[in-house]
């Protein structure tokens, strides 16, 4: 495998995570540079994701690189039955780096094994989305001044939400304390609780979003209707896990509310005015984090 690829957040050591976060800080101060001058980056989106694609392409353009690729596989030879392997080998002949999003779980790992150039995973099905995790970490570092010893509350769909699983793995390097708040149907899987236990990380589970007075980070996720067999249950749960502005009273001064977006009602609109709402800046931080990840993959920082 190409050692410079980023497929899963576990490909990054603690040192690497810190290096990327520090580089992202520098890119935020000085986002327009020509580090990617004369470089071609391919963005292959086998399924559409406008938000992620625009974030990557902004990162590349601000660094003076050129972009080739597609935003939807329906007009490509994939729809004619070309294998993923052939597509990746062909594109890796053209580009210096490949950013890819694919609907199948494990597609990015496989691509990293057949490609001659580094692969950055921009989401492979329900599996991994490590650049999201890096922008989450950068946002946490930026708002808290540190990644160490933080009290992190995760709320909503903790069962299927890949962002919370990756965040948990990444934060495990920094002695966090976790509180998992989810309905019974969407609780944090055993596998991750066992991981915390083995790493000596303190965690507790709650079924209601009421006491958040100790939180440094409140990480909200979307509770999706399709996860519920019983829609009555969904309607009930949906409101229990909605953050409203008055719930932020009495919380810590440094508390910040994060959400991978898009939101659909988990955070009431009136929260947006609070200085503790951070989800839109969080999305903006994605550009700096991705600038750092791309430059690292190409050995430029």
């Amino acid at each position: 495998m190409n050692v410079k690829s980023l497929v899963s957040i576990t490909d990054y050591s603690k040192e690497k995570i810190l290096k990327i976060v520090e580089a992202a800080e520098r890119f935020e101060v000085n986002p327009n540079q020509d580090l990617l001058k004369n470089k071609v980056v391919a963005t292959l989106f086998f399924e559409p994701s406008t938000r992620t694609r625009l974030s990557f392409e902004t990162a590349i353009n601000r660094l003076g690189g050129r972009v080739i690729g597609f935003s939807d596989a329906s007009n490509t030879s994939t729809s004619k039955g070309e294998t993923l392997k052939d597509t990746i080998i062909m594109v890796s002949n053209y580009a210096d780096l490949i950013v890819m999003r694919h609907p199948l779980d494990g597609a990015a790992r496989y691509a990293s094994e057949v490609s001659n150039v580094p692969i950055i995973n921009a989401g492979d099905g329900a599996n991994q989305h490590p650049t999201q995790t890096m922008l989450d970490l950068y946002s946490i570092k930026k708002t808290q001044g540190t990644l160490e010893n933080l009290n992190i509350y995760m709320v909503g769909d903790l069962k299927y939400g890949r962002t919370v699983h990756s965040l948990l793995m990444a934060m495990s390097h920094f002695n966090p304390k976790f509180t998992f708040i989810a309905p019974d149907e969407l609780k944090m899987p055993e596998e991750y609780k066992r991981f915390c236990y083995e790493k000596g990380i303190e965690y507790r589970e709650m079924s209601e979003l009421n006491d958040i007075s100790e939180a440094d980070i409140l990480y909200m996720t979307r509770v999706q209707r399709e996860r519920f067999l019983d829609l009555v249950e969904y309607e009930k749960v949906k409101n229990v896990y909605t953050l409203k502005k008055n719930m932020l009273e009495g919380t810590k001064e440094n508390l910040r509310v994060l959400h991978p977006l898009p939101r659909v009602g988990e955070i009431a609109e009136d929260v947006d005015e609070s200085p503790k709402a951070y989800y839109f800046q969080q999305a903006k931080n994605g550009v700096y984090a991705r600038q750092a990840i791309i430059c690292d993959a190409l050995g430029l920082i």
Binding site: K85, A107, G125
Partner: protein
């Protein structure tokens, strides 16, 4: 009735005997080891009574010796099977199976959205727990417990 007492399975001069295979796993072992493609003389016995446990299967293969990487592939389904290496009618080596760290090709991923189920790719699994035989797909990272392991046909 005139009953002749005979050994159910004849003794082997040179080769390998795989013993203590659970009866319901015998033909799976045959296929995983690719014995159906082998030219050697092979004797297979199944549903034989075993002193150790219920019914067992046994496979004797003439003039064939296995690499441990080859034979350990069956540790996933018959962890208690015993390998006897026979030379000149004598057991010269008795080998217990050990699970490899990685298993390529024989397991099928249970996740229908895994890239290995949708593209022409050989599967690869990491054995994460050798006691309870839990494996993890190298590609989609799905954890699979022993009772849920599926084999490629």
């Amino acid at each position: 009735m005139n009953q002749k007492k005979e050994l159910v399975v004849v003794a082997l001069e040179n080769g390998t005997v795989i013993d203590h295979i659970p009866s319901d796993k015998l033909f799976k072992v045959v296929s995983i080891l690719g014995l159906d493609k082998l030219d050697s003389q092979i004797t297979i016995g199944n549903n034989l009574s075993s002193k150790k446990s219920g019914l067992k299967g046994i496979i004797k293969i003439t003039d064939k010796y296995f690499e441990s990487s080859e034979i350990n592939r069956i540790a996933l389904i018959a962890p208690n099977a015993v390998l006897n290496v026979i030379k000149d009618y004598k057991v010269v080596e008795k080998q217990k199976l050990t699970l490899p760290d990685q298993v390529c090709g024989i397991i099928k991923c249970v996740n229908p959205k895994c890239v290995t189920n949708n593209q022409p790719i050989e599967t690869k699994f990491h054995v994460v727990d050798k006691e309870s035989i839990n494996v993890k797909c190298h590609y989609c990272e799905r954890m699979i417990e022993q009772e849920d392991i599926l084999f490629n046909s």
